[in-house]
């Protein structure tokens, strides 16, 4: 199986004044297209740092990162923006939707920056809204939606540009248990359609939805296991 993500000896050193802190101490793994991976670990173990690098929001201090065959090291910030726009979809713990902006317009946003025309944008956004089960809520503003619904809008936004990978950093961290189940059900369904998903969580029952669990500790991977459930 071809790997959509390939990390080789990734290190990330933060420099604060005269202090240095190595948040990632040589991380390597490959993720194949169509996988559903949960990244686990205690708080401060480097999960988010790793996700930021995977999401092309941050660059590693050293090591090699191949995304869909492209070496992400040493390319311009505008090219990184382009990769985020075309190859990646983000789902955040705090939803991160634009306030006072209709759900459908939030979903359209990646297509706006990709330069699609308004008609095409609307069409694809409606499709994504339908996929996450929010048909009919297109014109609601985030404040008029429940937490679960807001996260669905965020997932629709992550989906709309047909990304190679969806990255979700603690997507259920702000949700109650029944809503968590709904969202995880949605992720599972999307994964069954062939979308690669990488999700950070520190809850075992959430991680259990994934087919593979990678566990971090102090900036290193301490376990990487298939849980038997493969697509």
């Amino acid at each position: 199986m071809s790997s959509v993500i390939s990390l080789t000896d990734i290190r990330r050193v933060f420099i604060m004044g005269d202090q240095q802190f190595e948040a990632l101490k040589g991380v390597s793994f490959d993720i194949a297209s169509g996988e559903f991976v949960a990244i686990m670990g205690a708080s401060g173990s480097g999960k988010s740092t790793c996700m930021n690098i995977l999401g092309c929001l941050d660059l590693p201090t050293s090591g090699r990162y191949l995304l869909d065959g492209i070496d992400v090291g040493g390319i311009s910030t505008d090219q990184l923006a382009d990769i985020r726009n075309k190859k990646l979809g983000f789902v955040f713990q705090g939803f991160n939707l634009l306030a006072r902006t209709a759900a459908i317009e939030n979903v359209e946003l990646p297509l706006v920056y990709a330069g699609f025309h308004s008609k095409e944008r609307r069409q694809q956004a409606l499709l994504a809204m339908e996929q996450v089960g929010l048909a009919g809520k297109e014109n609601n503003h985030p404040s008029q939606l429940s937490g679960g619904q807001q996260q669905r809008v965020a997932i629709a936004r992550a989906l709309v540009n047909n990304p190679a990978v969806i990255l979700a950093d603690e997507p259920t961290g702000n949700l109650d248990s029944s809503t968590t189940e709904e969202i995880m059900g949605l992720f599972t369904a999307l994964n069954r359609q062939g979308i690669t998903i990488i999700m950070v969580t520190h809850e075992h029952d959430v991680a259990a939805y994934a087919g593979r669990q990678i566990t971090f500790k102090d900036g290193r991977i301490i376990s990487d296991s298939q849980t038997g459930r493969t697509v």
């Binding site: 929001l57 923006a81 985020r84 726009n85 991160n96 946003l109 330069g115 308004s118």
Partner: protein, 408 residues
């Protein structure tokens, strides 16, 4: 990202904080409104002035008596009786740059027609006067050389006099009495309007010079004129004509001390130049006021844009994570700033134009709103937005997406 979308986002941002947007625009609104209103009033005023100066006639030089010393007493300028009809004729025949010269006398008196009477200015002048002042008759006939030579008691009426003595009836052929002396009305002059000094030029009666000298004014000698009005052959020849007149009169009046002539000349183009200069100074002042208010307004906009960038750090982070490039963010905030100033500019233009119109209605003062001033105001308000919006927009575009996303 297409421009329409950028515009939409900017409009939404402005609408979210309506009151704040309005207050931010206020500086620009007031600045632009003041400039538009003052320019309108200023242009109106200078139009009126140039109109009035043109009404006197073009390329005109006025020769008036100067002060004379007689027995140790100096009379004021214009009070002496040093100019004569012969001087006027000499100027016309001997000065090569002069087209026409006309001697004039001026008095005022009661004018009676039947049971109507009207007090007005009475001017005596040779027929050339009407050529010089480019002042045709609209009915009847002008004063002829025969009228002048024969000191015939005929007169031309200005429109105001005609209206007050005859109403809508035709005065031509009627007899009127000027200072109790009967004159035949031979024509009505065209309407002239106000002089630069604000006098109604149509409130006057004109008679041949010699008729006036003999019947209407008293003087020490015969043939005295109170002023000679001269027309140069062209605008370029005004200065030359003036020095020719000075040389001629100095010689004719046997003036030994050139510094103390008994006459003086005034060039109407000089008055025009002064008027032009003061209107230029006025626009310079307006420009200063405008730039100060626009700078103050611009600083206000920069301030609010910086606040807006800080408030929307998270939004900027989201947009960047989703694929916005530096330029997309830069453009978004620039558009917002320019929209703010242009909107302020538009409101200012409307307010200024409205204010100017109101002033012209209430005070009966002419105003002119030129397309140019509107275009300049509009472009300037846009430029202020670009200039003062750039720094905040640059700051927004330079944010690191991770930090921006984490911003609380």
């Amino acid at each position: 990202m297409d421009f329409l979308q950028t515009l939409k986002i900017a409009l939404r941002a402005l609408r979210t904080n309506k009151m704040r947007s309005f207050l931010t625009m206020l500086g620009i609104i007031i600045g632009i409104a003041a400039v538009i209103a003052m320019m309108a009033v200023g242009t109106g005023a200078s139009y009126v002035i140039s109109q009035q100066i043109a009404s006197i006639g073009s390329n005109i030089i006025l020769v008036v008596p100067g002060s004379t010393t007689s027995g140790g007493l100096r009379t004021g300028s214009g009070g002496a009786q040093t100019l004569s009809s012969d001087d006027s004729k000499a100027i016309m025949t001997e000065c090569p740059s002069v087209a026409y010269a006309a001697g004039t006398v001026r008095t005022s008196g009661q004018i009676v027609s039947g049971n109507m009477n009207w007090s007005s200015v009475v001017m005596g002048g040779t027929p050339e006067l009407f050529e010089i002042r480019e002042w045709p008759v609209v009915s009847g006939r002008p004063i002829s050389q025969e009228d002048e030579n024969g000191a015939v008691k005929v007169c031309l009426l200005g429109q105001t006099v005609a209206e007050n003595l005859f109403g809508s009836a035709d005065p031509v052929g009627n007899i009127i009495r000027i200072k109790k002396i009967p004159f035949t009305v031979i024509g009505i002059l065209d309407r002239k309007g106000q002089s630069p000094q604000g006098q109604d030029q149509d409130d006057a009666v004109f008679v041949p010079l010699r008729t006036a000298q003999r019947n209407l004014v008293r003087s020490q000698r015969t043939g005295i004129v109170s002023a000679i009005i001269v027309k140069a052959k062209s605008e370029e020849q005004i200065d030359k004509a003036e020095s020719e007149i000075q040389a001629l009169l100095t010689q004719r009046h046997r003036i030994s001390n050139v510094k103390e002539p008994d006459f003086s000349t005034r060039n109407l183009s000089e008055i025009l130049a002064v008027a032009e200069k003061s209107s230029k100074a006025m626009s310079l002042l307006l420009g200063a006021v405008a730039s100060i208010s626009l700078i103050v307004g611009g600083i206000g906009i920069m301030n609010i844009m910086l606040v807006s960038v800080t408030e929307r750090t998270r939004e900027i982070g989201i947009r960047m994570a989703i694929g916005a490039k530096k330029n997309d963010i830069l453009l978004q905030f620039m558009t917002e700033a320019v929209l703010l100033t242009m909107l302020g500019g538009l409101i200012g233009i409307a307010l200024g134009a409205g204010g100017a119109t109101a002033v012209s209605r209430m005070l009966d003062w002419p105003t002119m709103i030129s397309f140019q001033s509107i275009a300049i105001a509009f472009v300037f308000s846009g430029a202020v937005g670009i200039f003062f919006g750039f720094y905040p927009a640059k700051k927004a575009a330079g944010l690191n997406p991770i930090d921006a996303l984490r911003y609380e």
